[in-house]
Symmetry: C2
Subunit: 665 residues, 2 copies
Amino acid sequence: MSVEEVNKARTTVPFTREQLESVLRGRFFYAPAFELYGGVSGLYDYGPPGCAFQANIVDVWRKHFILEEDMLEVDCTMLTPYEVLKTSGHVDKFSDWMCRDLKTGEIFRADHLVEEVLEARLKGDKEARGVVEDANASAQADADKKKRKKKVKQIKAVKLEDAVVEEYECVLAKIDGYSGEQLGELMVKYNIGNPVTGEPLEPPKAFNLMFETAIGPSGQLKGYLRPETAQGQFLNFNKLLEFNNGKTPFASASIGKSFRNEISPRAGLLRVREFLMAEIEHFVDPLDKSHPKFDEIKDIELSFLPRDIQEAGKTEPIVMTVGEAVSSKMVDNETLGYFIARIYQFLMKIGVDSTKLRFRQHMANEMAHYAADCWDGELKTSYGWIECVGCADRSAFDLTVHSKRTGEKLVVRQKLETPIEVTQWEIDLTKKLFGPKFRKDAPKVEKILLNLSQEELAAKAEELKSNGKIAFQVEGIEGTVELDDKFVTIEKRTKVEHVREFVPNVIEPSFGIGRIIYSIFEHSFWNRPEDAARGVLSFPPLVAPTKVLLVPLSTHKDLQPVTKEVSKILRKAQIPFKVDDSGVSIGKRYARNDELGTPFGITIDFESAKDGSVTLRERDSTKQVRGSVEEIINAIREITYSGVSWEEGTKNLKPFVSQAETAAE
Amino acid sequence: MSVEEVNKARTTVPFTREQLESVLRGRFFYAPAFELYGGVSGLYDYGPPGCAFQANIVDVWRKHFILEEDMLEVDCTMLTPYEVLKTSGHVDKFSDWMCRDLKTGEIFRADHLVEEVLEARLKGDKEARGVVEDANASAQADADKKKRKKKVKQIKAVKLEDAVVEEYECVLAKIDGYSGEQLGELMVKYNIGNPVTGEPLEPPKAFNLMFETAIGPSGQLKGYLRPETAQGQFLNFNKLLEFNNGKTPFASASIGKSFRNEISPRAGLLRVREFLMAEIEHFVDPLDKSHPKFDEIKDIELSFLPRDIQEAGKTEPIVMTVGEAVSSKMVDNETLGYFIARIYQFLMKIGVDSTKLRFRQHMANEMAHYAADCWDGELKTSYGWIECVGCADRSAFDLTVHSKRTGEKLVVRQKLETPIEVTQWEIDLTKKLFGPKFRKDAPKVEKILLNLSQEELAAKAEELKSNGKIAFQVEGIEGTVELDDKFVTIEKRTKVEHVREFVPNVIEPSFGIGRIIYSIFEHSFWNRPEDAARGVLSFPPLVAPTKVLLVPLSTHKDLQPVTKEVSKILRKAQIPFKVDDSGVSIGKRYARNDELGTPFGITIDFESAKDGSVTLRERDSTKQVRGSVEEIINAIREITYSGVSWEEGTKNLKPFVSQAETAAE
């Protein structure tokens, strides 16, 4: 088959999730964790091929981002004390909205419930109108039917009024932006209750998604499992800056597990309670967010779904270059645009279908108040568009809150080429009076005063002038602390500064590796048209769990020495491979292998035993070529690690037609 | 310097932990987590060099074990439901003994407290006797003095009676084997209390070391963070066996974080609450624990500290080959011996000092009741001998308990060459009676009966015969279930079997990566005799965080194009490197680099700008050679990844003496 024929074949048999899942579970890419004990929803284990696939994707990520951009990788703990997550805002705000059914005790996630019910009604409307869906959608719909009927009772082929359809579609386009109260109003307005019984539910309540635990034997130190890897990077900012010899911009990066106690996880690998994240925190001067390598990526064209389109209730993306997106100010700055493009390049390397990728901008009410701009890399799957990568400009928020809470400066100091004159409020402390008055609390009191902002100093100066003293609270000291002008002087002074001090802004690309992996599973899966039961996972060789299946044509003893020899050579070349010397037909062995996504097969036959030549088979086209072991391994290495095409990599090798295989296939 | 000179230099300046720690923290190998918030004991973050060192060690582990032995890697969740860890025994038994000081509220770990106090008294005795310790020990002792004085008040130069010294030494040799009660008795007998105040403590109480949390929004599913990665591997046994086409022996492996809520963690990276583990579960036929590759390792000589020596209160190991250890039955079987040797080989590759490694056998009262044999790979550090690798034959315990609890078979089925006659108890159920009697509980009752062991069946047969019925408990059914012979038949029958069914035994090598890393830090650290303030970390190139420091001799613009060119070549060759183009002297840059453990320096000078030649410097000997960039990179690659010596790798390159560097060093 030619490349075109393969592409055609890949879309011939309609996709269904059930067939993919049966392959993924059958070949132990993953399995529900604790299945022996009935399982725990939202927890999954990766088996050998899933684990290798994940390791390969992490390896590509590390090379594409960390090595290429000289990022500083850190490995921080998952256990995180309460205070840190209180400061970061997670204790108060990291929640989803849940609704309880008081009769059955069931708990639903409010936004998902609204989405599910409205989508079901729209589908019912389509059925009633006799609208024909595309092949994939209708195959999936058929497969879903039985399940869905059970899950959402209201799905009936009921025609809706045109205005209602439009209203529903508009709500769905904005679904990520609603508050708990708004969701509650929608549920009342559209009569959304328990999808099975139809009974009304309690109004949405906030449920914090962090797993809580206690650290230490006394049980008194409250902690959480981190909901993201970012905080560890922020807290180590000063050490990282020093490691980088004080220079900015620079980025830190971290790869590790994070945890979210999802309310009611049901979407397989897409919504799990424990997941692998890879996060970058790029620290940049707030006055200069240009990027030195922006030119290299500015011509890349991407699908953007900006804020205004969504707020108009639409979902049609616009296609433009990253350069245009930044120059038109749709994307806030060059560094943000640079990372969006680099994310795109990464996703292409590991097998994402470019037609199923869009960058969606956060809506105003969806974005954190401090963020300058935020775009999600979303991948299309049978579950809809899924947020897989976030790319946010978090401004100086994180470093500022931690600095304020702990009294430690988290700033960059930059020598100024030309010194500047600065007029600002300054506070002087008569330190020798602090010790006697506050004893062991003296450093705490001093720290608070020395960390006052310009606005606060101006207010305190006014207070000192009018009252003859300033009053303030100190944690750990009861009542109000009062100090007169013997203790403090607050004045506006003009000085020449040679050093500029600033809190850097943070651009944060954040990857949900498990969601990306599942999306690639969907994007890579197809069934051979000649036998729809035969699934293939067309992973790019670079990330395929195993690169080569080594198959002796038969179990005859004459083939064993060559098989051993080729194994040894492959092991030495560090090309991950598996031997399949089971007695089943070669066609069956290749079929099994196609399901594992192994891009190459090396067949050993009786000719091999004589002259050392072997056959190389390509998974997608089932094309075969013949050559010496060395030639074949070179071709594999070139195609897998240097990214050359099959045609280019095998151009000096002889085409080969195996009768045995043709028959079996 | 020659190799011998380097070895001599490495032991000239006595080792102190404080100097090592100052380098490790100064260069951000690691740092206390949440230091900005005052830190949380037992939690540490790895900075860029620590993170890279860890990643390299994991990479070597993966190649040495998983790839070399075709193991099946899995990635299982850390969140684990209560039931699983109840079955495994962790809920009931995974505890340490803690003693509370009722006055101060302090909590101590009982065995560590006894150990610490007795060791302090023995040191005091040595001081009183005027015993001279070796240089390292006394340097460390000096450095410790101030700290220790504060920590353990009782340390005084007090001479003990000879019999007491012997008794203390005997207790210390057996310290890992005492129960909580025994520890309590020792504390009374030797008058051990709060080491600072001397006040008596509460008797030891068991404290479970697992972190607890609740899974899901209702808070009703109790869970823990896994204390080891093993359970996930056991629970997936059937899927792994199927993946391996039903064949044994095979091994699974897992690399990931585990958690232990240590009572009072104080020994830096050696005792932490969150840590990286790498574990192997090798499933093997209980009737045949031979290993096909045993011959390859049988002549390796190791230091063994067997059970009988420790039980005699001694600590002097014996040196013998693994072959002798197995044939003499000191080590239980070939597979266990094979893995002990493979562990040794792995530790040598990554930089462990072979003279600071011993394999200590668990004592009878220390070993789990089900274990057939267990050896700990211990590494000597300034904290004493530390368990870094465990290697246990866990028999069929784990698979058996999970199978019994869940009613699912976890067995291997092996076709017998010659069928055998088997006589055994069998139970028949009259299934049509179970449904009407038990309704929805019927499958549960049936499962219990079908899973009875041979011993249990024999007892039930006797019961049925004498009482006319059998009685038993079923979870979820109140009272006792009684069945007469209309429901069940229990008979001894003889059958011809063509398939043998067995629960495999598990050999479990289990690695604490963080402990190994810290030990290598100690084993690799030394100070240059010519300048004791200059520390060097002599990591093997294979695992060094960065392989090459690229240093232009000056910041002159003529050197910039060559520096850029060499960077590009190094990046393409995928050799991890750093550029140091800061203005400081080359000697200072190399000194900084020695602390980071970077094995090679490439110096770019004005000659390089003319003819493309560069200088290669070796970290330990500070030897230098000159050649083309290509030659130098080849030498680096050979030494780093193929393990050739510096002499061999650079034999075709010209020796080079840089006046600038000689002066600076």
